[in-house]
C-alpha cells in the first residue's frame, strides 16, 4: 500500500471510537436541549445504523429519555424485529411496537405496487415476493432497475422496468418509510421528543433515502460516518454480535435484498474507500491501487458515485422560497 492508501486506513479504520462516541453524545445532548425537547425517538430496524443511533441516544441522555419504536409490516423479515428487540433489551430503552400493515393497506401501498408489477409480470399474484435490483453503472451503462419476482413454486422472473412501472413501484413502496416517519413524529410530538434519523454517510451522500420518509429527522447523528466506522462504533459499544457482523439489507421489499444489489452496486467496505477517495479529490488510479482493481473500473465507480449524487440532489433540497421581484 502507498502512503496515501495508508491514510485511508488511518481515516476509515483506525477510528478513535471512544472520542467519537463522546463527541457525538455531547452534540446530541446539546442539540436536544437547544431544541427544548425532553428526549429522543429512534425507530429501530434491526440493522446496525439504527442500533448504533439507539445506543448513542441512550448513552447521551439516558435510556429512560429515549423511546424505541418497532414498526414492522407484513413483508418485514422476522429477523429484523428479533434483532431490534435484542438491542432494545440490551440498552434498557422503553419501546412501543406498531404493525403498520393496516395503515399501508389503507393507503393502497401494496395494491398500487402490485398493480405496477403485474404490468411487467402478468402472472404475479398472492404468495409471490419481489424486489428491485439496480444495475448498469459499473458496466459503463446508465443505471436502470430490474424487477425480480419469485412465485410460491420457486419460479423466478426478472424484467427491466419501464418508466411508469418503475416510478409507481417506488412511489408505492415509499409509503413504508413515510408511514414509519409519521409514527415517529406522532410519538415525538406526544412526548416532546426529537426524532433521530439513522442514515450513515454512504446513504446520505448517495441519496439512499426517501424524502420526507427515512430522510426526515431532527438530528442525524451518524450521517458523517462511513459504514465501516458505524460497524466500528457498534463493536465498541458492545452491541449484539449478530448486528455487528450483519450484512446491510433494505428490508423494504419482500424478497431478501442486500443493499449492494439494490442500490450501491459495491459492498460497503469498498464503497467507503471509494467515497473517501472522491471526497479527498484523489485520482481514480489511487482508488484502483487501494482496492486492487484496474483504473478503468475505478473510473466507473467514480462515475457511478457522481451519477447517484446528481440524480438524488433534489432529495437534499429544502423547499424553495420564491422571492417576489419588484
Amino acid at each position: 500500500m502507498t502512503s496515501m492508501a495508508a491514510s485511508v486506513t488511518e481515516d476509515l479504520l483506525d477510528l478513535d471510537c471512544g472520542f467519537v462516541v463522546d463527541e457525538i453524545c455531547a452534540q446530541l445532548k446539546e442539540t436536544i436541549v437547544r431544541f427544548r425537547r425532553r428526549g429522543a425517538v429512534v425507530a429501530v430496524s434491526g440493522g446496525v445504523d439504527s442500533a448504533v443511533c439507539l445506543a448513542l441516544s441512550a448513552h447521551a441522555i439516558g435510556p429512560e429519555r429515549v423511546l424505541a419504536l418497532l414498526l414492522p409490516e407484513r413483508e418485514s423479515s422476522p429477523d429484523s424485529e428479533r434483532l431490534a428487540r435484542e438491542v432494545i433489551s440490551l440498552l434498557g430503552v422503553p419501546y412501543e411496537r406498531h404493525d403498520i400493515t393496516s395503515a399501508l393497506e389503507g393507503l393502497g401501498c401494496y395494491e398500487a405496487r402490485d398493480e405496477a408489477i403485474r404490468h411487467v409480470i402478468p402472472e404475479y399474484a398472492g404468495g409471490w415476493r419481489n424486489k428491485l435490483v439496480i444495475g448498469g453503472g459499473l458496466s459503463g451503462q446508465f443505471n436502470h432497475f430490474h424487477l425480480v419476482a419469485a412465485g410460491p413454486d420457486g419460479k423466478r422472473v426478472e424484467r427491466r422496468l419501464g418508466l411508469r412501472e418503475y416510478l409507481q413501484i417506488v412511489a408505492a413502496t415509499n409509503f413504508k418509510q413515510r408511514t414509519r416517519k409519521a409514527m415517529e413524529y406522532y410519538h415525538a410530538d406526544r412526548l416532546n421528543y426529537v426524532v433521530i434519523g439513522t442514515p450513515n454517510r454512504l446513504e446520505y451522500d448517495q441519496g439512499f433515502f426517501v424524502k420526507n420518509g427515512d430522510g426526515a429527522a431532527d438530528i442525524k447523528p451518524i450521517a458523517h460516518l462511513y459504514k465501516t466506522q458505524v460497524y466500528a462504533l457498534a463493536r465498541y459499544m458492545q452491541l449484539p454480535e449478530e448486528i455487528v457482523s450483519s450484512i446491510p439489507t433494505s428490508d423494504t421489499y419482500s424478497l431478501p435484498q442486500e443493499q449492494e444489489s439494490f442500490y450501491f452496486a459495491l459492498p460497503y467496505q469498498q464503497l467507503d474507500v471509494a467515497l473517501w477517495h472522491v471526497e479527498k479529490g484523489r485520482p481514480a488510479a489511487e482508488l484502483a491501487e487501494a482496492l486492487g482493481i484496474d483504473t478503468e473500473f475505478a473510473a466507473r465507480i467514480y462515475a457511478d458515485i457522481a451519477a447517484k449524487r446528481r440524480t438524488t440532489r433534489y432529495l437534499h433540497e429544502p423547499p424553495v422560497l420564491l422571492a417576489a421581484h419588484a
Partner: protein, 88 residues
C-alpha cells in the same frame, strides 16, 4: 428518418425542459453534462425511443455512446432500424 434529431430536440425541449432553453441543445451536447437528464430521465428517454421507433433498447445498449446526445441517438436509431430492416 431525416427528422430524428428535430423530433428529439422537440421531445427533449418539451418533456425535460418545459420549453426552457430547448433551442440551445446542440447536436453533440451531452445530456448528462448539461444536466438535462438524470438516470430516471434516461429510463424515460428509452421508453420514448422504444414507443416511437419500434425498437427494443437492450441493457447493454443503455450506454452514453448511444443515448447521451441527439447525434448519438440518431446514429443509434439508424443502426437499430437498419439492422431490423436487414433482418426482415
Amino acid at each position: 428518418m431525416m427528422d430524428i434529431k428535430n423530433r428529439l430536440r422537440t421531445y427533449i425541449s418539451d418533456n425535460f425542459l418545459m420549453g426552457l432553453n430547448g433551442g440551445v441543445i446542440g447536436d453533440d451536447t451531452s445530456f448528462l453534462d448539461a444536466g438535462i437528464i438524470d438516470s430516471t430521465g434516461v429510463i424515460e428517454l428509452v421508453s420514448y425511443l422504444e414507443e416511437n421507433y419500434g425498437i427494443t433498447v437492450e441493457d447493454a445498449e443503455m450506454v452514453p455512446e448511444n443515448l447521451d446526445s441527439m447525434a448519438a441517438i440518431e446514429r443509434y436509431i439508424l443502426r437499430k432500424t437498419m439492422t431490423r430492416a436487414a433482418a426482415v
